[in-house]
């Protein structure tokens, strides 16, 4: 439909693009969403009627955190390369981001496996299990969404469809990824520091 493209060309001079404003709005809404799960986690700390309790089973996931933080850096570098039309370097940076994000997911999966198989902690075991899996799980789901989007961009880049003029869109993806990263820092401090 022609209406869809009308707005792009004839807007007034501005500082922010509609994509940027839209992405920031989405991030605001997501912040509010995660806020509620964080509050629920904090509220139920120490209220589980039976174990396992967080202090007995949780280990600080330093490696996973390192992977995720590093992936924020790599996607930032990748976007800068794209702005200079160095597509190969961009693709390499994006690939590194996907690998690091994937590593984070694998590490999370291993932690869940340990908790479920070794400690018998599931969503319905106690309040800790309920709040832990839903909070960490929703974060992991956001990592998955980010990874899928990046894999899509990567596929397009490998086929030579991504160029400098797409920098803004890829940049918006990186904003989302940084947000997922920041959420992880909040989850980390609430679940693995405050709650233990």
């Amino acid at each position: 439909m022609s209406q869809a493209v009308v707005s792009a060309q004839d807007t007034a001079p501005r500082d922010w693009t509609r994509g940027q404003v839209g992405m920031l709005s989405l991030i605001l809404a997501e912040t509010s969403f995660f806020g509620v799960f964080l509050v629920a986690y904090l509220f139920y700390i120490g209220r589980s009627l039976n174990g396992p309790y967080p202090e007995d089973v949780l280990e600080l996931p330093l490696l996973a955190t390192g992977c995720l933080l590093a992936s924020s850096a790599t996607i930032g570098l990748a976007v800068r390369e794209l702005a200079r039309e160095r597509v190969a370097r961009f693709a390499a940076g994006l690939f590194a981001t996907v690998v690091l994000g994937g590593a984070f997911l694998v590490l999370t999966a291993l932690e869940w496996q340990r908790l479920i198989v070794d400690h018998g902690l599931t969503l319905s075991t106690n309040l800790f299990g309920t709040t832990y899996y839903s909070l960490v799980g929703f974060h992991a789901a956001h990592v998955c969404i980010g990874l899928l989007l990046m894999i899509g961009v990567l596929a397009l880049a490998v086929r030579g469809h991504v160029h400098r003029q797409h920098t803004e869109r890829v940049d918006l993806l990186s904003w989302y990824w940084h947000f997922v990263d920041v959420v992880w820092l909040a989850v980390l401090s609430v679940v693995y520091v405050v709650g233990v």
């Binding site: 209406q3 009308v6 809404a29 589980s48 309040l127 309920t130």
Partner: protein, 559 residues
């Protein structure tokens, strides 16, 4: 792309000769903000009629003590569906619809920032609504009798948990609202992006029409308040399907936590619904008083202040749950503070009337009634914020009266005003002034018969959500009067529908600017072409059309 710059010759003729399938395809596949706006409003009106019938059935049951017109479960489903419908499927789409329709026109843009997202939002809302109503047929399986949710529109835990709400009715409630919530979120993102990045030349933030400002504030409230509801509903869904323990009191879960989450959404939601009402009034009162809005900056500031305050008052719905003194005092006090910016608005509207030449056309009639009814709604709000008084009033019919004064006396009256005011722009046709007046007076009478009396029932100790009551409580006459009011309200709504139907039969042309108004939407044709403006406008003040009509005394000299 060529079509964007001007209408291709023959487009209109072609459109007229199309078959109904093509017309249908046009509406279903549209990404035009005006068509989507009309779809939102139209869907909202359809759900409004359904929700109204549900209310009428409840008033029939309550007209007499010990009545058995409706079974208890039927009644409980009706009030659950009525509340859910009116908030999520009537209020939300209608305000989103007007926002969609008007924001681009008022800021001189050709569409919303994300037209396809806009269409996606509408269809999410529509399917969410259909899913909720499908529960009547499908919630116990298609071969069963089916049943709608009966847990109340705020679905308190643990009543909404699996232990006390078996079957799938509550799941339909959760999923229907959750899905239509995605629609609201996308609409909010769209409105913010549009208002911030698509304004025409010269339209600084300080020159945006008040309606646009207020819809921006509303959109921020949606962004912050809606996700907590979604999150809480996801928790409830986990509890019901995956055996999670969020609200399971047997496992140490806290029933009150749901209330905190729900009302952290629920109270801002009241302002999400009410601020658009303020927005319509702020556009309509100046035009019919022939005066510029008094205190534009104060109006914006008051709206933003209400937005901020709305996040600090949620627990005033919970004064009876046994909170500590400190929290009770805090939430009571903050709630009373909301009266200050709200008062500023009311006084600004009155000051706009003052010294004007007020034309009491139908939109203005609805706005006039709004002013007094909303004043009363605010004052009963103060009474409910007065914590000890609320220990008596909470969950009584007084509360029912209060929020119907807000949502009908406040919001619905302004929605009617907005429909009468912008219908000529949307269709190019005038609505009948005579039928409009009948609509206004009948509805006004019915509204007061029904809801003014409900204050009394509440003070006499009648709790809300009861399907029947004994004959010896002294509530009979008040309930009967309340129920009688429904007849007049229904007659008013019939006049409203008749006025719309008649407009399409009589086809009295409205012209571009029937009210001699001042904002940009009146500068284009009625209805506006798909591209809104042949040439993108340029403005120098808040009232570009005033500047045009009064070149000797333009606004930009004073702002």
């Amino acid at each position: 792309m060529a079509a964007i710059d001007g209408p291709a010759p023959g487009v209109a003729e072609r459109a007229r000769s199309r078959g109904w399938t093509e017309t249908l395809h046009d509406w279903v596949a549209t990404v035009d903000h005006k068509k989507l706006g009309l779809l939102y409003i139209g869907a909202g009106i359809v759900f409004f009629l359904i929700g109204g019938l549900e209310a009428a059935a409840m008033r029939w049951q309550l007209a007499f003590p010990d009545n058995d017109a409706l079974a208890p479960d039927t009644f409980n489903r009706l009030f659950t569906m009525h509340g859910t419908t009116m908030v999520f499927l009537v209020g939300m789409p209608i305000i989103t619809g007007f926002g969609n329709y008007l924001i681009p026109l008022m800021i001189g843009a050709r569409d919303m920032a994300f037209p396809r997202l806009n269409a996606w939002g509408f269809w999410m809302f529509a399917f969410g609504g259909l899913l909720l109503y499908f529960s009547y047929f499908g919630s116990t399986g298609l071969y069963g009798a089916g049943s709608a949710p009966d847990v109340g529109w705020f679905a308190y835990a643990p009543l909404a948990g699996k232990a006390f709400s078996r079957g799938n009715a509550t799941d339909y409630w959760i999923l229907g609202i959750l899905i239509s919530g995605f629609g609201s979120l996308s609409g909010a993102i769209n409105m913010i992006a549009t208002a911030f990045t698509m304004r025409c030349k010269g339209m600084t933030l300080g020159r945006m029409p008040l309606l646009v400002w207020m819809m921006v504030v509303v959109s921020f409230l949606i962004l912050i308040a809606m996700p907590p509801l979604t999150a809480a509903q996801v928790m409830l869904l986990f509890d019901r399907f995956l055996g999670a323990r969020f609200f399971d009191t047997q496992a140490g879960g806290d029933a009150v936590l749901w209330q905190h989450f729900f009302w952290f959404f629920g109270h801002p939601e009241v302002y999400i619904l009410m601020i658009p009402g303020f927005a319509y009034v702020s556009e309509i009162i100046p035009v019919f008083s022939r005066k510029v809005i008094f205190g534009y900056a104060a109006m914006v500031a008051a709206t933003v202040a209400i937005g901020f305050l709305s996040f600090g008052v949620w627990a005033h719905h919970m004064f009876a749950v046994g909170m500590g003194k400190g929290l009770n005092i805090w939430f009571g006090a903050i709630t009373m503070v909301v009266a200050v910016p709200t008062g500023i608005k009311l006084f600004n509207w009155i000051a706009t009337l003052y010294g004007g030449k007020i034309r009491f056309r139908v939109p203005m009639l609805f706005c006039s009634a709004f002013l007094m009814q909303f004043l009363l709604a605010g004052l009963t709000g103060i009474m409910l914020a007065s914590v000890p008084f609320d220990w008596q009033l909470s969950d009584s019919y007084f509360v029912v009266a209060h929020f119907h004064y807000v949502l009908i006396g406040g919001l619905l009256f302004t929605i009617f005003a907005a429909v009468y005011y912008w219908f000529p722009k949307m269709t190019g046709l005038m609505l009948s002034e005579t039928l409009g007046r009948w609509h206004f007076w009948l509805f006004l009478l019915g509204f007061h018969l029904t809801f003014t009396t409900m204050h009394v029932q509440g003070l006499l100790g009648m709790p809300r959500r009861i399907y029947t009551y004994p004959a010896d409580r002294g509530w009979e006459i008040w309930n009967l009067v309340s129920s009688l009011g429904v007849v007049f309200q229904a007659a008013g709504v019939v006049c409203f529908i008749a006025a719309i139907a008649l407009a399409f039969r009589r086809r009295v042309p409205a012209g571009d600017d029937p009210w001699d108004a001042w904002t940009l939407e009146w500068s284009t044709s009625s209805p506006p072409p798909a591209y809104n403006f042949a040439e993108r406008p340029e403005v120098r003040s808040r009232r570009p059309l005033w500047d045009q009509k009064h070149p000797d005394d333009p606004d930009w000299k004073y702002e």
